[in-house]
């Protein structure tokens, strides 16, 4: 018995044309979609151009913001005696990191202390080590250096002696800034932003 010949479907000329046409359409759609994606990430407005700044990190070494260029960065201002707003912010950021997963480790979180007298590098180092899920660094400096950075970020702080046994309390704006790979501020979160939203923006930035 002859094995039935495998029928080679020889495409007719017409079919070939249709195939090429279909491929071309797919390719065009793909290009269009890719273009759309690029547009949506480029369309992110720069909210603040902060340039570079120099502070002291929690190892006591000079830190330059420009050293983090090429990767997104999160930054907020606070102080270690803060019992409520700052731990809450760090806890939200930690949660967001866990939601994003391994990739999030590329994003550094900077905690800039506005309480230069009490938040020395060793204090900051120990404070930041508590947030093990987050590649975070504490930053401090002279009052002049901190004030300059606070101004760049349109933030505000004021140290007050309210008679508390804790010592001076620091009033401060509670905002989390996201900087893009170029080092410009592109997203602002506040105290009420849920971790899911932070995670979403982190994924977009990566």
């Amino acid at each position: 018995m002859k094995a039935s010949a495998v029928r080679v479907a020889r495409p007719s000329a017409e079919r070939v044309h249709r195939l090429h046409f279909t491929i071309a359409v797919f390719v065009l759609i793909a290009i269009a979609l890719a273009g759309c994606n690029e547009q949506s990430s480029e369309a992110r407005q720069t909210l603040l151009k902060v340039g570079d700044f120099t502070l002291i990190d929690d190892d006591g070494k000079e830190f330059h913001l420009a050293s983090l260029q090429g990767k997104p960065t999160l930054l907020f201002f606070g102080y270690t005696h803060c019992p409520d707003a700052c731990p809450m912010m760090m806890s939200k950021v930690s949660r967001a990191y866990r939601m994003v997963g391994e990739d999030a480790q590329q994003i550094t979180t900077l905690f800039v202390s506005v309480d230069v007298d009490r938040d020395t590098p060793p204090v900051l180092k120990e404070y930041m080590s508590y947030f093990s899920a987050v590649p975070a660094r504490g930053l401090t400096g002279t009052k002049e250096q901190i004030d300059e950075v606070v101004k760049k970020f349109a933030a505000y702080y004021e140290i007050n002696d309210t008679g508390s046994a804790m010592g001076p309390t620091v009033d401060h704006t509670v905002r989390l800034y996201m900087l893009d790979r170029k080092g410009d501020v592109v997203v602002l979160f506040d105290a009420s932003t849920p971790p899911e939203v932070i995670a979403k923006e982190m994924r977009k930035a990566l």
Binding site: T80, P83, A85, M88, Y130, Y156, A165, M166
Partner: protein, 144 residues
């Protein structure tokens, strides 16, 4: 004999009355402190079922050297924290101590506190009454 029994009965009643605090506390929790800083905040919902205002004028705890009542307020985007001398809980109402608002600040903690531990906080009320609350230590931010 009857007098003695009466006295005992009255004493028992007054003891029970004193033990029955005027306020009820719900969902108390203390945020697990960062070991670098011996300061943390305690939160709870205070309910006053009585017909009169009840005022908390202070607090203490064996877990901290000092406990103060603090209030956080956001004024034009700036978060401010101020010590408060008295906390009125109006008649038949509830006051919530929660993140971003009122809290009991525990200052100079006497030991390490970890998630799962619990602390005793004593609320001092105007009029002399005190109220003991057992408060669990929690690491995570409580979502409402």
């Amino acid at each position: 004999m009857r007098h003695a029994l009466l006295i005992v009965a009255l004493t028992m009643t007054s003891l029970v009355a004193a033990a029955e605090s005027t306020l009820t506390i719900e969902e108390p929790w203390v945020r697990e402190p960062n070991p670098a800083r011996p300061v943390t905040a305690a939160y709870m919902t205070i309910n006053n079922p009585t017909d009169d205002v009840v005022t908390v004028i202070g607090a203490s705890s064996t877990a901290a050297e000092v406990v103060e009542i603090h209030e956080m307020k956001t004024v034009s985007g700036v978060m401010k924290m101020r010590m408060v001398d008295r906390l009125d809980v109006p008649a038949k109402s509830t006051v919530k101590l929660e993140p971003g608002g009122l809290h009991l600040m525990m200052i100079r903690l006497t030991g390490t506190l970890k998630d799962g531990d619990s602390v005793e906080i004593e609320l001092k009320l105007e009029g002399g009454e005190t109220m003991a609350v057992t408060v669990p230590v929690k690491k995570a931010e409580v979502h409402h």
